[in-house]
């Protein structure tokens, strides 16, 4: 008896204690910045466009000497952003998700780094030369570059990291991004050749030579990806399987170093004083937190705890006219994949009819309304073309909305088949895809007068059905790995059920030839033609929209760049006014 009353008494005391301590409210993380508001001279962008074309890029092309005018000696201020998913790993040969890429990109650096305009700029390398057959690249490393612990960064660090990614240790599924290009990469992965026979060699500490299988005009862009970042063999080996698990188990080569890392809480970054371009890094601290709940993130933003917040479709209407509102579209295409061997959809006219019957502008602007753009082809807006026009501008709108044509093709298809096919659309069960599927279903009803069933499954189950050739058509998406149309177009050459069992000799030949072509104009023409065959002639897929995002960003922050592909957020160029 006594014990129980004592228990209640203790609880009461504890409670009084709890409520007594008033919440010690933390000072908001976005501290007033002292960065001067003078205009900051950014590394000139025109120079990099040239480095891509010219065979030789020397130091003169790019202002490698830090432009110190306007940038204070010491950086200050804090930027706090968030991710909606855990940062799964910081080991670059294991990382495959956007969250991990974001951190890696800001604490490491490759031979090149994407600039403010999303074009590659010399980073740890000062430039490169390429042989006449466009197969051998020789990179020269910058002088005086070092790891955050003071060890010099040498060409050997690149060889070690690249071999790691090409070999059997890599678990991120990204080995293809080297093995497809570098001589003996695949053979090394399969254990058929030794490391010395692979086409990446350190000639001396400052010179890295890379041998490619085929001419690859976008190879420089690949070197900006996290898989191409260098790693110090001695350090990584000394950490064993603890490498990348904690902040102190890593050394860094990028604009920032990690001061704390917890996959679920996030990471905190601090400016890397050993970074070669440290004089141009203006923001001292960066926090990347994890918030899964959309409205919680918005509340945190309004409370001043975040510098930037993504908006859901429903919030966009509210904030559309807010001066802090921005939107951007990505290199990621969501499309209908037709199974060209499925009953009904083996008829090309039926496939074309379905494609013509969808008004994609309503989908992007009214239904999604989150910065997504109506698709006009497989390759997204902004993907590189001939230098002056983008790929999309050159190939025009290959997925127009035309209800009249849709009805015509449908009638023709039904006549050929003998009866109208019963169709089921396979989708993943996330809320956005469901919304898109319902819209597409209503468009089929309105413009073709047909009822299409929707089958929603978890994304793993959907993929399994597709891999097993057990579907008619499905909604699926592909995001660009690098800024070139080939990242999309070569997917349909393998003839797998996932890609609709599509196999067309002409298409495959165009892609294969484009991969070998040394003349960039010819190569581009081949890819333009290939896209036309895929979408217009054969209608194997029907693009719906390019994913975008709408966000609010504090008005005192400038140049917090988000790239439309690869490594998304770039803190290096950010300024706080």
């Amino acid at each position: 008896m006594k014990k129980l009353s004592l228990f209640i008494l203790i609880i009461s005391i504890v409670l009084i204690g709890l409520t007594g301590c008033s919440g010690s409210k933390e000072s908001t993380t976005t501290a007033p910045a002292t960065v001067s508001t003078e205009s900051v001279s950014e590394p000139t962008v025109e120079a990099t466009a040239e480095t891509e074309k010219e065979t030789v890029a020397t130091e003169e092309n790019v202002p490698t000497e830090p432009v110190t005018s306007g940038v204070p000696e010491t950086a200050s201020g804090t930027i706090t952003v968030y991710d909606t998913n855990e940062i799964r790993t910081l080991v670059q040969w294991a990382a495959s998700d956007t969250q991990s890429f974001t951190v890696l990109n800001n604490v490491f650096e490759g031979l090149y780094r994407l600039g403010i305009d999303h074009q590659p700029e010399p980073a740890l390398a000062t430039g490169y030369t390429v042989s006449d057959d466009k197969l051998t690249y020789t990179f020269t490393l910058r002088d005086g570059i070092q790891w955050s612990n003071g060890t010099p960064i040498t060409a050997k660090d690149f060889v070690f990291a690249w071999l790691k990614q090409m070999g059997p240790d890599a678990t991120n599924g990204y080995s293809f991004i080297m093995n497809d290009y570098i001589v003996n990469g695949t053979e090394y992965n399969e254990g058929k050749v030794k490391a010395e026979e692979v086409g990446v060699k350190a000639i001396d500490d400052k010179t890295l030579e890379v041998d490619l299988k085929t001419p690859t005009p976008y190879f420089i862009r690949l070197t900006t990806l996290s898989m191409y970042f260098p790693l110090n063999e001695e350090f990584v080996t000394s950490q064993g399987d603890q490498y990348g698990v904690k902040a102190e188990n890593m050394i860094y080569s990028g604009p920032y170093v990690i001061t704390s890392y917890d996959p679920v809480v996030g990471t905190t970054l601090e400016k890397n004083e050993k970074y070669w371009d440290a004089a141009n890094v203006a923001v001292k601290n960066v926090n990347i937190k994890i918030i899964k709940d959309q409205s919680a993130a918005l509340n945190a933003y309004k409370a001043g705890e975040l510098s930037k917040v993504l908006l859901s479709s429903t919030d966009v209407a509210v904030y559309k006219n807010d001066p802090e509102f921005h939107s951007q579209s990505e290199f990621r295409t969501t499309y209908l994949q037709f199974n060209t061997t499925a009953k009904g959809l083996d008829n090309v006219n039926i496939r074309k009819a379905l494609g013509y019957s969808i008004d994609r502008s309503i989908l992007a602007d009214t239904i999604l309304a989150d910065g997504s753009a109506a698709a006009e082809g497989l390759v997204s807006f902004g993907v590189a073309g001939d230098g002056t026009s983008t790929f999309r501008e050159l190939n025009g709108n290959l997925s127009p909305f035309d209800p009249e044509k849709a009805k015509e093709y449908w009638a023709k298809g039904v006549e050929e088949l003998g009866e109208a096919p019963q169709l089921t659309l396979l989708i993943a069960d996330d809320s956005v895809t469901k919304t898109v599927a319902t819209f597409v279903q209503s468009q089929f009803k309105d413009n073709l007068g047909i009822d299409v069933a929707i089958d929603s499954k978890t994304s793993k189950a959907r993929n399994e059905l597709m891999d097993n050739n057990n579907y008619q058509f499905a909604i699926t998406a592909w995001g660009a790995d690098y800024d070139d149309a080939m990242t999309y177009l070569d997917l349909w050459t393998n003839g797998t059920p996932y890609r609709g069992n599509y196999s067309n000799e002409t298409y495959n030949k165009l892609i294969a030839d484009a991969k070998k072509e040394t003349d960039e104009a010819k190569r581009l023409t081949m890819m333009l033609d290939a896209e036309k065959i895929l979408l217009d002639t054969d209608a194997v897929i029907s693009p719906l929209y390019y994913r975008g995002f709408a966000y609010l960003q504090k008005s005192n922050i400038e140049n917090l760049v988000t790239h439309p592909f690869g490594n998304p957020i770039e803190f290096k160029y950010a300024r706080i006014k």
């Binding site: 008896m1 129980l4 009353s5 209640i8 609880i11 009461s12 504890v14 409670l15 709890l18 301590c21 008033s22 919440g23 010690s24 409210k25 933390e26 855990e86 799964r88 790993t89 080991v91 294991a94 990382a95 495959s96 998700d97 059997p168 678990t171 991120n172 599924g173 990204y174 080995s175 293809f176 695949t186 992965n189 399969e190 399987d241 990348g244 698990v245 917890d262 996959p263 679920v264 809480v265 937190k289 994890i290 918030i291 899964k292 709940d293 409205s295 919680a296 509340n299 945190a300 309004k302 409370a303 705890e305 978890t458 793993k460 189950a461 993929n463 399994e464 891999d467 797998t496 996932y498």
Partner: protein, 312 residues
Amino acid sequence: MGKYILKRILYLFITLLIIITATFFLMKRLPGTPFDSERFSQMPPQQQKQLLEKYGLDQPVSVQYLKYLNNLVHGDLGVSFFYTGRTVKDVIFGRIWPSVLIGLQAVLLGLAVGLTLGIIAAWKHNSGIDYFTMVLAVLGVSVPNFVVAALLQYYVGLKWGILPVAFWGTWAHSVLPSIALSFGATAMFARFIRTEMLDVLEQDYIITARAKGLNQFQVLMAHAVRNSIIPVVTILGPIVVNLLTGSLAVESIFSVPGIGSLFVESIKSNDYATIMGLTIFYSAFYILVVMIVDILYSVIDPRIRIQGNKDE
């Protein structure tokens, strides 16, 4: 008593073995692999094989099962697929503390507020405070905790700025999630103790207690509450397990790095080792708590322990 506990522990292991076996084979029926499905299907077959071999996933399920049991006996829960390179033990123990802290605070808060309100409500039957408690109890049971969480976050966190809006760090960060989580439990405790108290207060021994001159407080605490507490102890077990193992909604709203979302995530990503680790952890925890509750009964009501000895 000792024999009884030993028997219960033996049952615990048998139950666990059944749960492990069932979960293991069911889990292997999940579609897909633990690897990023888009990347995986794009890989050359040679590399797919390499990956599956690396994690022993190319072997028959029964072999994998025996291997898992063997590792488990040696205390090895395996390595997470999702959190590459981290052991399941690290993943679970790294995330358990925030959930336990919030859960424990919520249970204590729920007990203190719920019991107090319930006792007063029964004592002052049909008074204002009684009606207030009942309204609160109905609200607490019917309003989901994520609604409470969102409201607390908006008003207390954002509008009034009293406590942090979200994130994890200082103790202040744990207050709002604890309150949000305690709401349902508070209502349950209040209802149970009130109903039981109303019954007990009608009993003859309460009149006896009053007649022998005990004051109101002594009557309530020594006689009424002790005799009404059994139902509360019964529901305490499941509530404690529920609150301490984390809440998906509350943790996601307040960005608490707890264990609540781990189970759902691990199933979504086919993270076999983590699914198994969590299943074992949850089951063992639940069985243990139920066992402790059973033992608690006998502490509170000696009649349950000492059979045949009726007088107290």
